[in-house]
Amino acid sequence: MKLRVATVWLGGCSGCHMSFLDMDEFLIELAGLIDLVYSPVIDVKEFPEAVDVCLIEGAVCNEDNLEILRKIRERTKVLVSFGDCAVTGNVPAMRNPFGPDNRENVLQRAYVENARNNPGVPKADGIVPRLLEQVVPVHEAVYVEYYLPGCPPPAARIKEVLVQIINGQAPLLTGPQLKFG
Amino acid sequence: MLPLLTREKNADRVLRHASGDKRFKILEVHMKKHQFRQDALIEVLHKAQELFGFLEDDLLLFIAAKLKLPPSRVFGVATFYHFFTLKPQGEHTCVVCLGTACYVKGADKIMAAIQEKYRIKAGETTPDNQLSLLTARCIGACGIAPAVTFDGHVAPKLTPEATLEKLNTLI
């Protein structure tokens, strides 16, 4: 049976997924080795049950992130923090040092100060999820088995980890393969 | 820019300014007593704080100039020790001892009561400049815990109520 693999995009720039797509021709080989059951690049709405491996891009920034992450943890055997935002909080977490008001300030900056048309923070339910007081890396919210740092992780590094996992090994990165940033 | 040749240097300005203030004279006499030794810096800072109430930048620069020390060294020392303050203090000070003996006997509750009533945290001064709230690590008065120092006088075996009452009469 092929591994049921998911990738998910939380609070991040999607650069890690771009890097994933950068694996080029290996993607074709990969398609024969795994079942991609959930991902921003495929059209599945609900995170499925019984997933073997999930790569998580992005930090935990809002209540939606937290909710889906917990669901993912319950339905997945192995979680991999995918990229610096997931591993360290990285750029999304740069609002944290600005204290308890950082949420309001971020929204103000994004939707009012930088708005060309119709400035105003969206208020209706379900449009902008409530931001968490602090952005946290994935492993502060749920337990994570493996870490794949980099901003973004180069395609070769992602491939290395995937191949090891598919081969049933605990992925092991060493030296510059672990470089943050 | 390289050291400014035209503008007056900070140290010169401070020395000129200090010549009109008697307290600087007293401080200088004190430094002389220590032969302007650099290792007397902490003693000098004690005296300066006693004379001026707190250590402002010009005062630190004056000391640096007289003891022939780089300003960064004087600032580094002044901010290392909790006893020195670089901000002006309120009319009255209230130092709550948070040593272990006082703590197990309820100093935290005394602290909470003052913070709640005067809406200031440790290290802060009320907006009307009446009261500065400080904490001490241990004033060595453990036998009479919990102890609070009001304007330099230690009061023994206090309760939150008694402390607030003392402050009431003080302010």
């Binding site: 491939k159 | 453990c142 023994p156």
Partner: protein
């Protein structure tokens, strides 16, 4: 000045004494309850009642029973001293009248109380007896005779030998053999050497050194002078916390008086030995109790420690060999010289000789300072001398060693108080703080209290102490706020080990002790606060695909 001149001075001083002496404790504890007003009132009352011929009021240092203060001791009335407790300024007329037999309702203490009876006073022999601001009083109890003896009859090496024989160990906490330290400094080459007295008593809940400095400053000065002679130093520094203004002013007075009589300064007792002592005032930094940090502070710098070796004995103040001992260590010296090292070695246990002063505080009936022989069971101290927990409470643990020590549970109260036994329990002797906690005390909160202390007192130089104590405090906060999980507790334990073994100085190395010892003896209190971890680690999983992939 020669010894005979001193003796004449003493004889005159004793001759001027009056029959009845009202000893008024004017140490910081009793002063906070208006002991100065009480003394003034007593003096006025003695005059008013016309008793000036027979009665004198004497300012004395700490009598020890601080929790019952202000205290007035009465000598010369009967064979036994009488002790008035909880004295108020308005009690003065009644107290003076009682000297002639009038009834008096001021509470009278029992001098046979185990709090006093179980004590053995060497360091505090003169506390509460001599006037700390009059050198004549100190001379009258044999003061400076030990210094005279070493200067006139002993070689420096003989002094070191005597201290070695006594088995005295450093009273600042670590318990390093004092004789060995003196010997090392004495042997170190150097034209200039220093003697430093560490009076930076920073442990919260400890006030032994304050009391000694306030009550009997000369015993410390004399101890330092003897040490200086033994190691070949001519300059001393006495480092005192700024939080102890009374101790500082009494030391200044004492030094001035000793200099005036030629007991400090040049050519002491008309010998070639010179010794000067300067006071250095701390400014609120616990880390300055660490000897290398203290030296940096004496040099007027930021009080940050440095790696040892080199040890101060070889390279200390300004690179010169430097002897650093604690106040209580120096206060033991005159007795050892006067009565011999062998006598001292006969007190205490095999490895811990002599007596130790403790500040007995916290949830206990009798608060105050006690001096007991080493090896006394902890139970005797807290139950017999201390009278146990106040009504309704039960003793849960005894904290020794302050932020560097640990909490000893009630089940171990039969432990003898000596360096090794306390260390075995995960605590330390420390400088002598002994804070009793009853069953209302939450041990996790206590651990957090100490960790916050260490975090705020960390100098910030080394990473494990600066960032490690901050993380440990954060974890303790999470746990006490019921946000912590078993994983957080594991991280806390991991940091206990790491901070202990990698920190630069004693502050960091011992900072985990209060956490480690409460985890050892009161683990269930931590566990009761932990939260479930539903998104925590999974049972181990394997992912095995059908075909191996080739790269």
């Amino acid at each position: 000045m020669q010894l005979d001149d001193l003796k004449a001075l003493v004889a005159k001083h004793i001759g001027a004494r009056k029959k009845i002496v009202l000893r008024t404790c004017m140490s910081a504890g009793c002063m906070s309850s208006q002991a100065d007003v009480i003394k003034r009132n007593l003096e006025a009352e003695v005059k008013a009642q016309g008793r000036e011929a027979e009665v004198e009021v004497r300012r004395v240092g700490c009598m020890g029973f601080c929790g019952q203060g202000p205290l007035i001791g009465v000598d010369g009335l009967s064979a036994k001293e009488k002790l008035f407790e909880f004295v108020k300024p308005t009690d003065a007329p009644a107290i003076v009248a009682s000297l002639q037999g009038a009834a008096c309702d001021v509470q009278v203490g029992n001098p046979d109380h185990p709090f006093f009876a179980r004590q053995m006073r060497i360091v505090r022999a003169n506390g509460g007896i001599v006037d700390p601001e009059r050198i004549e009083d100190y001379l009258a109890v044999g003061g400076y005779q030990a210094l005279h003896q070493v200067l006139t009859e002993m070689q420096p090496s003989e002094v070191v030998d005597e201290i070695t024989t006594s088995g005295l160990r450093g009273r600042g906490g670590a318990g390093f053999p004092t004789g060995l330290k003196w010997g090392t400094v004495a042997k170190s080459a150097g034209a200039k050497k220093y003697v430093v007295c560490n009076g930076d008593e920073g442990d919260p809940g400890a006030f032994m050194d304050r009391s000694v400095l306030e009550s009997d400053p000369h015993i410390v000065l004399e101890g330092m002078a003897i040490a200086a002679y033994a190691v070949g130093a001519d300059q001393g520094f006495l480092y005192v916390r700024a939080e102890y203004p009374l101790a500082i002013s009494r030391l200044q007075t004492a030094i001035k008086q000793a200099k005036a009589l030629g007991l400090l300064g040049g050519g002491i007792f008309e010998s070639p030995f010179n010794f000067n002592i300067d006071i250095r005032i701390g400014a609120g930094a616990f880390v300055c109790g660490e000897e290398t940090a203290l030296m940096a502070s004496v040099e007027g710098k930021r009080g940050t420690p440095r790696p040892r070796p080199p040890f101060p004995a070889e390279s200390g103040l300004w690179g010169c060999p430097t002897l650093i001992n604690n106040v209580e260590t120096f206060a033991n010296i005159t007795a050892i010289i006067n009565r011999g090292g062998a006598w001292y070695a006969g007190i205490g246990t095999e490895k811990s000789k002599g007596t130790k002063v403790f500040a007995l505080t916290g949830k206990i009936k009798n608060n105050g300072l006690i001096e007991v022989p080493m090896g006394i069971p902890l139970r005797q101290i807290v139950e017999e001398m201390g009278g146990g927990a106040p009504a309704g409470g039960h003793i849960k643990s005894v904290q020794t060693g302050g932020p560097s020590g640990g909490c000893i549970p009630a089940a171990y109260l039969d432990t003898p108080v000596d360096y090794e036994s306390l260390t075995k329990l995960g605590s330390i002797m420390g400088s002598g703080g002994m804070v009793v906690m009853d069953d209302a005390t939450n041990m996790v909160e206590i651990a957090k209290f100490y960790m916050e202390f260490c975090m705020e007192e960390s100098c910030g130089k080394c990473i494990p102490c600066r960032a490690g104590t901050a993380q440990m405090f954060h974890l303790l906060e999470k746990i006490t706020q019921r946000r912590g999980t078993a994983r957080d507790l594991a991280k806390l334990e991991e940091l206990c080990d790491m901070v202990r073994h990698t920190s630069l100085c004693g502050l960091g190395q011992t900072a985990p002790n209060p956490v480690a010892s409460t985890l050892k003896f009161f683990r269930s209190e931590y566990e009761a606060l932990l939260q479930p971890d539903p998104f925590g680690p999974r049972p181990s999983v394997t992912t095995q695909s059908a075909e191996p992939v080739t790269l």
